[in-house]
Amino acid sequence: MYCKKAKDFSEADILGIAIRLDHSAGNHLAIAVHDGEFCYVIHLADHYRLLNGKLTDQYKWVEISSMDEINKMHLAAVCQATYELNKDEGIPFAPCGGGKFDENGAYIGEVGTGMTCSLFVKELFEQQGYIFINNENWPIRKCDILWQKDVLRDFYAISEEDRLLVKHQEGLIGKALRYRPEEVAASVTFQSVPNNFDDINPISLKINQELSS
């Protein structure tokens, strides 16, 4: 089993990947943190909605196998500090991505770019030198293109900036790699990292099964 129950996330675990089923939009990914007193999730919930919320029973969590306690504590502190640095301005949601964190944890992105919930986790980890995914040969799949189109079609653009985002993101469809929540979750289960799509994909399918069961 790769997925563990939320209630089993303990103080000793410090940091993990939280994932939950979201029937309307695929799975949702977050970072699970235990601060010694409470456990919570940090995640990009929606457009400009960077949240720090409770680790509810809806979530399951996946252990970061290759990481020792010292690095978990460091990365958990970085995640919390980065959340606090960016929570007020928020981060734009964008199905084709393009946004990044700079080396100091501040979100940077040109107009038209943003992140998905998965990219938020992936970029935050990579910014500190923890690389779990080898991008080479990562496929662009038809169903991912459809998902990106669907998200943009339903995007409620209320500002000029939002309309620019949709326009820019439409231009990235078919070019931007999509990392699904279960794939980012699967990428942290290896003792040796980074890994490529062929290694990660079978585990991501098992995680999907575990979430549905």
């Binding site: 235990h34 460091h74 919390q80 500090a81 640095l85 700079d102 080396e103 944890g105 910014q127 690389i131």
Partner: protein
């Protein structure tokens, strides 16, 4: 530059004299004010509070650069006092935010002074790793980063950790 006996020490409103007493194999220097002006009260209080904990301070040597850092970076003094006990998330996050903010504001000289004065044997395990990772991306602008890394690897070895594993990727 290491401050010598009776050297002038800058304060917010002027200067006062201080003297040093060398302790702890010459690495640490104790200090106190002489002829404090009435406007220097703030510093007097803070330095006195440091005196009581000098042996636990994570400062390699006390220099004019460090004195300047203490006047310009409000949390630095507290960090050097707390560094040997920062182990939990709640303790670490406020300092991580401050260090990230320092880098976002491109205060590289201050960051260099900060890292360059750290006494690695008094840093907690997570700080030995975390401070290097947190500042890794700007290491080219922080001359003391490489020295700190070498000292951290030595200290991790003393603590029976594999530095190449803990610091992998940087």
């Amino acid at each position: 530059m290491i401050l010598e006996r009776q050297e002038e020490f800058p304060t917010q409103t002027g200067s006062s004299q201080l003297f040093f007493q060398e302790i702890d194999n010459g690495c640490m220097r104790n200090y106190a004010y002489e002829e404090m002006s009435s406007t220097s009260e703030l510093f007097e209080i803070k330095l006195e509070s440091l005196l009581s904990t000098t042996s636990k301070l994570a400062i390699e040597t006390y220099t004019t650069e460090l004195a300047k850092l203490f006047t310009e970076v409000h949390w630095a003094r507290e960090f050097f006092t707390d560094a040997s006990s920062l182990t939990t998330l709640k303790q670490l996050v406020p300092y991580y935010k401050e260090i990230q903010t320092l880098l976002i504001n491109e205060k590289y000289d201050e960051c260099d002074t900060f890292l360059g004065h750290l006494r690695t044997e008094l840093l907690t395990d997570v700080l030995l790793v975390g401070l290097l990772r947190l500042t890794y991306s700007k290491r080219d602008k922080i001359p003391s980063w490489q020295t700190l890394k070498e000292k951290a690897i030595e200290e991790l070895d003393i603590r029976k950790y594999d530095g190449s594993v803990l610091l992998s990727g940087i």
